[in-house]
Amino acid sequence: MTCESAAEPAWRSYGVRRRSTTAVRLRVSAALVAVTVLAVLLVPPLVRLDQQTVDLGSKLLPPGWAHPFGTDDLGRDLLLRCVYGLRISLLVGVAAALVATVIGTAVGATAGALGGWVDQGVMRVVDTIASVPHLLLGIFIVAMFRPGVWPVVVSVALTHWLSTARIVRAEVLSLRSRPYIDAAVSGGASRWRVAVRHLLPAVLPRAALAAVLMVPHAMWHESALSFLGLGLPTHMASLGNLVQGGRSSLLAGQWWPTLFPGLFIIVPTLAVAGLAGAWRERIDPRRRSELML
């Protein structure tokens, strides 16, 4: 047995192990994402319990049979609160990632396809915006509106489209000089037609991947804003609000109102990131890397 494994070339066993860890990571991530999505979609209609029900008699109960995650300082069931919070966080994350990807793709494709001074100008604007810390910029944007879901989506989207714009621009620049674009131009295609028919379809897979990779970012950003009290109003509590709400009881030794919402932020976002990472390795096997978040 030992003899056989010693005879195995080192690169080979390394490759096999590497592939299997990738496969395990992919399966675990996919399972977690599936559980998350199912929970978010099915729990609210199936479990006819009101997450807002206040029961002051059972406030701050530790995790137990009746309340698996315990209760908060108003006696509300934390498991239910977390599922509803995840629902809001996921909604905001996905919506913000979609909006950011649309903006980023449009800007990046325009800059890359037009080139010249338009490209230079647009990319300097992108650099300028990127040089301001995301959270600070996000706070400015949120502060301009009344609290609600859409201001948060806008705030996250407007601070996160920059990386997509850079990726799409780089991709378009590399495609633009391919002979098939020359052939299309020679065949009478207008600039618009080249962009829409030949360039955009080629960058869409990359943009879609960027969108999925952005979902965890957007969820974290939303949680941070909510934690700071600038995000969603408390009646539509997101995970960030829940962590913020649990903070006051943390020093009194009640850890569950902070821990469980925190886990609900971390685990689904890592699962989405793991799934996107596996996808990236599939479409771009040359650029193997660890989860680049």
């Binding site: 131009v185 020679s186 065949g187 009478g188 037609r193 080249v194 028919r197 030949h198």
Partner: protein, 245 residues
């Protein structure tokens, strides 16, 4: 007449690839342009197809000077010159089926109604069978893809055809079939041809007149960098073998 006069072109203003190149392709004439790898033939071919703006010099199509290039060139002038490139893999949009690849110029110029008829005419002319037309570029061979690229170049009935090393990647029988397809088209329409390449045997058989790079630019092409003359072929590629001289 497709005329290139004193063309200087390149990708860096400081170091142009092509200097003072001049050549003329009359209607119905086939011109071969021979030059070693890296001398600037492809750049000159791109200029002739209005795909690259030269630093200086004039391009005239039937006496009409070209003032704008690439997308900005008037569509009528751009489509008057058909191009076929060396690498079919890079010159075909990987998402289009071969039939769509061939029809794409008709779509781009708003002549959709001609598509079925033109594709049905051109596919047999370049030797593509019906089942190949439904495949995508990654499902066909280089030779089959280059046939489709030639059909795409011919679909708008250009008055000139620029073939930039069209057959360099292909075997002899495909080369013969593609050259025959070009010649059939030229016989039917009287189009001019600029065939760029380094295969002097092929170009001398194919073209009415073969120009060597130094005849076009008035200077000896530079040696390929990094390839000492002693280790490569003893003869520069554009010098014909003794028997052919």
């Amino acid at each position: 007449m497709l005329e290139l006069r004193d063309i200087t072109a390149g990708y860096d203003r400081e170091a142009p690839v092509v200097r003072d190149a001049s050549l003329t392709v009359a209607r119905g004439e086939a011109i071969g342009l021979l030059g070693p790898s890296g001398c600037g033939k492809s750049t000159l071919a791109r200029v002739a197809a209005l795909l690259h703006r030269p630093e200086s010099g004039t391009v005239l199509l039937d006496g009409e000077p070209v003032r704008r290039w690439r997308h900005r060139a008037p569509r009528g002038l751009r489509t008057a010159v058909g191009v076929v490139f060396q690498q079919p893999r890079l010159s075909a949009d990987p998402r289009l089926r071969l039939a769509d690849l061939i029809a794409e110029p008709l779509r781009a110029t708003g002549r959709r109604d001609e598509i079925p008829q033109r594709v049905a005419e051109l596919a047999p002319a370049v030797g593509l069978t019906r089942d190949l037309l439904d495949r995508r570029p990654h499902e066909v061979s280089d030779g089959q893809l280059q046939r489709a690229c030639l059909a795409r170049a011919l679909v708008l009935r250009p008055r000139w055809l620029v073939c930039d090393e069209m057959t360099a990647m292909l075997d002899a029988s495909t080369t013969a079939a593609l050259v025959a397809a070009v010649e059939d088209y030229r016989a039917a329409t009287g189009a001019g041809l600029l065939a760029v390449g380094h295969d002097h045997t092929l170009l001398r058989r194919w073209c009415d007149r073969v120009l060597r790079w130094q005849e076009v630019t008035g200077r000896i092409p530079p040696a390929t960098p990094g390839l000492p003359r002693t280790s490569g072929p003893q003869q520069p590629a554009d010098v014909p073998p003794a028997g052919d001289r």
